[in-house]
């Protein structure tokens, strides 16, 4: 069975635009350099620089703050850091997610076919990170999140991206942390750091050193709020990216 396209989630900073999006494609490219020599009987190539671009397609819903077209337009060519994430499969935690860090829209095309809905295509540039989704949805209590299995343990750290989409009530220094362990039971977890937040937005946590194979989020503190809605993607260097 394949992965249904409609299970995707598109996040743009604190906004979840999944309901106004109906298509996306991500293209990752690696440049190749010819590396032939006098003793090579066939062409030789070597991979050099990597890059990528995300294209999203959605519906025009209005010009107000919080509307997808308006928010994308506000990030067209911006030098202010923005984050775009595509969670590929929201049917379960632990599925892949990509994050465009320092993202900006390089091209927005409004399409207005006379007999159809107004739609637009947006192309996104940024530094691409690849990871797994550790959290996606509403949080109403402190405690441990679902244990996710990485493809392997990492030794070079990584980055966690927390997209806080909504807060119920008022949060002051709500806290989410990342833990890892070498056993699935997480009997002796290692704390890899915490993110504190008091408002919606995107928060990064740089992880250093070893990231063991089993990971989870821990909701340490709601900060006085009754709950919040968020997604967290964990990108581990040398493992997921």
């Amino acid at each position: 069975m394949g992965v249904k396209a409609w299970r995707g989630r598109l996040l743009l900073d604190e906004f979840d635009f999944s309901l106004d999006t109906f298509g996306a494609s991500l293209e990752l490219t690696v440049e190749s350099d010819e590396a032939g020599n006098w003793q090579s009987p066939a062409a030789q190539l070597f991979p050099t620089e990597s890059g990528g671009m995300l294209t999203t397609t959605g519906y025009y819903t209005g010009p107000d703050a919080g509307d997808i077209y308006q928010e994308m337009k506000a990030r067209r060519g911006t030098e202010s850091p923005a984050w775009v994430a595509w969670l590929f499969d929201t049917s379960a935690l632990g599925n892949p997610a990509i994050v465009l860090d320092s993202a900006w829209a390089s091209n927005i095309m409004l399409n207005t076919p006379v007999k159809e809905l107004i739609k637009f295509d947006a192309k996104w540039e940024g530094i691409i990170a690849n990871g797994l989704t550790l959290l996606d949805g509403a949080v109403t209590a402190v405690g441990n999140g679902t244990v996710i299995t990485l493809p392997a343990a990492g030794s070079a750290g990584g980055t966690a991206y927390l997209f806080v989409r909504a807060i119920d009530g008022t949060a002051v220094d709500a806290q989410v942390s990342i833990e890892c362990d070498s056993v699935v039971g997480m009997s002796t977890p290692t704390d890899k750091g915490a993110i504190q937040f008091s408002a919606v937005g995107v928060y990064e946590l740089a992880l250093t050193g070893t990231v063991e194979e089993y990971v989870r989020v821990v909701i340490d503190d709601l900060g006085g709020a009754t709950g919040f809605t968020a997604a967290l993607a964990l990108c581990v260097d040398g493992v997921t990216q």
Partner: protein
């Protein structure tokens, strides 16, 4: 002569990961550089064979397993090229080409595209595998 169906008779392994369950199209391009060698003494166009080069275009249904096999290499290209094994044909009359990964011989991914443009369908992917050096054929 009997014909051969593609299903169950094409295989591709990249970096020890069997990609068959993630593929529904594989096209291997085997190109020899054409060197024009005509001179004033020639009576017609003369061409000679240069070095060969190889490339494989792939595509199929996307999955987490597939993504974990190829995405890291597109974000952090490997310094040691990956081992790639490609075969075509049924057992007994099969052609297998193997590029064993090293600093100069092997495979890497130059293009990986994840496509979810049809909300009614599945996520699909396409990719290009660049191949460096000569394979061992068996």
């Amino acid at each position: 002569m009997s014909r051969t169906a593609a299903k169950e008779n094409v295989g591709l392994t990249y970096n020890s990961v069997d990609l068959r369950a993630h593929l529904n199209s594989v096209s291997m391009e085997d190109v020899v550089e054409v060197i024009e060698s005509m001179t004033f003494a020639s009576t017609a166009i003369e061409k000679g064979a240069g070095a060969p080069s190889f490339k494989i275009s792939v595509g199929g249904p996307w999955s987490k397993t597939l993504h974990q096999a190829v995405a890291p290499d597109t974000l952090t290209p490997p310094t040691t090229l990956r081992t790639l094994v490609y075969y075509v044909g049924p057992s007994g009359s099969r052609v297998t080409r193997t590029w064993t990964g090293s600093a100069t011989v092997g495979a890497f991914i130059s293009n990986y595209k994840i496509d979810a443009t049809d909300p009614k369908g599945d996520i699909v992917w396409t990719g290009t595998l660049e191949l460096s050096g000569l394979p061992v054929e068996s």
